[in-house]
């Protein structure tokens, strides 16, 4: 996969991705039409659901937070040409880190400190779940796509086992831990706003969003302004060149996967420290997989990832509104749209290139220079 060098950047990075997105939405619209509903009404319901109702923007940004984390996780690995499908499992195990820290310390240590430790816990546990496939790829040559898929399932089995048999709240039927102590957690924005004298609608949006934005800036710095980022990108461009340049390939792979896993693990702080206040089954809800779509659409750049996360946040939040407004369309429609976006923005990303190149050359260039 490579961007065209015939057409200017604003076409290949700006217009073509938008056209792909447009195609994905058109096909989604056809499906809605096929079901017998009005696609434009569906869009307006989703937009209202995502931005208009009180608290809607808060919900949208809360989903956005998850997608920023998983999107960055996938994108970092992409820079080193590693396909990390394991974001889902890494986020899940990251939740174990949060849960363990909170359950062990929250009765003895001041809440603020526990929260900091829990954030570290999410990163470290997520990182471990990324390091193992990274190590196996670097040292044993196991294909990272396959190992990360396998690790998603292993994580799911592990978490079910632990939540059902080990860290479940005693005397409780549903597989979840006890609530974390009251001082632990990341404050929700609407509560914070109340202290500042502002009255905004209730939503699960919490400080994790600020963490996500900070991490995005850090991501940009790491990838484009540090030696490590340079090494990772060189590895992504050409492994042979990287080896020739004296870059230690296997340790770079392992570190990239560690950071990638750690980023995915941060989903747990938004979900567990920001919203649920306990560790529960299946809290990752597919965010790890959506991260792949986000990274593809965002072209592995933090700003693009922010925009793509916003789009998916709006889709998820707007999608819940579909359940109330339509009898025959539900929020699962969003899954369909997501699949189409991955298809058009990912697998078919360069389908339109020849078309756009030809159109561009016809109007702006002459054939001899191309």
């Amino acid at each position: 996969m490579s961007d065209s060098n015939i057409i200017p950047k604003w076409l290949s990075v700006g217009l073509i991705p938008l056209m792909n997105l447009f195609l994905a939405f058109c096909v989604s619209g056809l499906f809605i039409l096929f079901i017998g509903e009005n696609p434009f009404r569906a869009i307006s319901v989703m937009i209202k659901g995502a931005f208009y109702y009180p608290g809607a923007i808060g919900y949208t940004l809360y989903y956005t937070t998850n997608f920023i984390f998983t999107g960055l996780a996938v994108a970092l690995a992409f820079h080193a040409r590693l396909f990390n499908i394991g974001g889902e499992g890494q986020a899940y195990v990251g939740g174990l880190g949060v849960g363990l820290v909170c359950l062990v310390f929250d009765q003895h240590v001041v809440g603020f400190l526990v929260t900091i430790l829990a954030i570290l816990g999410s990163v470290i546990f997520g990182a471990i779940w990324g390091i193992i496939p990274g190590y196996l790829q670097a040292k044993r040559g196991s294909h990272i796509v396959i190992t990360t898929i396998m690790f998603n399932f292993i994580a799911a089995a592990l978490m079910v086992y632990l939540l059902v048999n080990v860290i479940i709240e005693p005397g409780q039927m549903s597989p979840e831990t006890r609530d974390f102590a009251s001082g632990v957690g990341l404050v929700q924005i609407h509560i914070l706003a109340k202290y500042l004298g502002l009255d905004i609608a209730m939503s699960p949006l919490n400080l994790s969003f600020i963490v996500a934005l900070t991490v995005s800036v850090g991501f940009w710095f790491l990838v484009w302004r540090t030696k490590f980022g340079y090494e990772a990108r060189s590895l992504g461009h050409s492994e042979t060149a990287a080896i020739y340049a004296g870059i230690k390939v296997s340790s770079t792979i392992i570190i990239v996967m560690a950071i990638s896993g750690g980023l995915a693990g941060l989903v747990a702080i938004n979900e567990l420290l920001g919203v649920h206040n306990k560790l529960l089954l299946g809290f990752t809800a597919g965010y790890g997989f959506t991260g792949i779509a986000v990274a593809l659409m965002g072209r592995n750049h933090p700003f693009g990832i922010f925009l793509a996360s916003l789009l998916f946040g709006a889709l998820y939040q707007g999608g819940t509104e579909l359940d109330f407004e339509f009898s025959s369309i539900t929020r699962e429609m969003v899954l369909l749209i997501q699949g189409l976006i991955i298809l058009f923005s990912g697998a078919l990303a360069y389908m339109l290139n020849p078309l756009v190149e030809r159109a561009y050359l016809k109007y702006y260039g002459n054939y001899s220079s191309a």
Binding site: I149, F153, A157, Y161, L340, I342, L343
Partner: protein, 324 residues
């Protein structure tokens, strides 16, 4: 019949039931990956065809038509995969992933729109399904010790698709290793340039391979919803496509070893269900999750080269272009 023997018999019986969709999908995976196309989309194709099989059968009343519709739908998904990663040279993993997520969303959305049952299809009557086939001479065989029981309980009494899955293994073996098409298919997965130089179309060969994979996934889906089950339930493939993928790797992309990997993984699942809540000597109770995770753990260990080396086809995942 002693109790422990009875237990083994019933374990083997459920092993076969569980392994059938794995076998179809794993053979599909072999066709696709041997030709150089990674197929993460086994899961999605199976899910989609399970839905289409149940829907078509419910609407027409004929499981045969349901089966054909399932195969058609699955081939459609294969075609999209091919269009993305053979024609447009897109990323094969991303395309497969898109198919899985698409199938997941599409089946639920269409299911709710068509039947308003929360994504399920209406239950099918027994004449609308592929029902168990009883072999002749069951009564006579039941007098034969051991072998007779095996014949009556394990070999006989499955639906037609179970027997077809065994045929699919031999079909895969024969086509891939004993025919000219198979030789070319393997070549195109190892060195597409060589095949191209010999004047054979890489594109056409790869399309053919993934369409065969589509057909096999269609059979797997139909097995789930109109043979083993009596209707479609949301997410009913439940990761089986990924287990099949693991089995294919475990079988090192060879049909016969892959068959045994499928049976092993099927056996582990059957055993896990059976061992739930049972105290074993020395070990204690084995959590069912251990059995669920075991196929994946085994595959990771194998891939890491600790039990032999699993080597993928040489050109796998690399889009082919004549310009190089």
């Amino acid at each position: 019949m002693p109790e422990s023997f009875q237990l083994i018999i019933s374990l083997l019986d459920s092993t076969i039931r569980i392994a059938t969709p794995l076998i179809f999908c794993a053979m599909a995976g072999i066709f696709s990956e041997r030709s150089g196309i990674i197929d993460i989309g086994l899961e999605g194709k199976m899910l989609l065809s399970a839905f289409v099989a149940a829907t078509a059968t419910f609407l027409t009343g004929s499981p045969i038509l349901g089966l054909f519709a399932a195969i058609l739908a699955s081939c459609g998904a294969s075609f999209i995969h091919g269009f993305a990663c053979i024609t447009n040279r897109g990323d094969q993993v991303i395309s497969g992933l898109a198919i899985n997520i698409l199938a997941s969303g599409l089946t639920i959305t269409l299911g709710i729109a068509l039947f308003s049952r929360g994504g399920q299809t209406p239950p099918l009557a027994s004449e609308q399904r592929f029902m168990p086939i009883e072999f002749p001479f069951l009564d006579e065989m039941s007098y034969v010790p051991v072998l007779g029981d095996l014949f009556v309980e394990v070999i006989s009494g499955h639906n037609i698709l179970v027997y077809l899955s065994v045929l699919a293994v031999f079909f895969t073996y024969y086509v891939i290793f004993k025919t000219r098409f198979g030789l070319r298919l393997r070549a195109v997965g190892e060195k597409p340039e060589a095949v191209d130089t010999a004047g054979i179309s890489v594109i056409k060969l790869r399309y053919q391979s993934i369409l065969i994979a589509g057909m096999l996934c269609g059979l797997a889906g139909a097995y789930l919803s109109i043979a083993h089950g009596a209707g479609f339930g949301r997410e009913m493939s439940a990761g089986k496509g990924y287990i099949a993928l693991a089995a294919m790797i475990f079988g090192k992309w060879n049909p016969i070893p892959t068959l045994f990997a499928c049976l092993l993984f099927g056996f582990l699942e059957a055993l896990g269900v059976r061992l739930e809540g049972v105290e074993l000597m020395w070990i204690g109770e084995v959590p069912v999750q251990v059995m669920q995770a075991l196929p994946y753990v085994l595959t990771v260990v194998l891939l890491a080269g600790f039990i032999g080396k699993a080597r993928a086809p040489g050109a796998i995942g690399v889009p082919y272009s004549k310009e190089g």
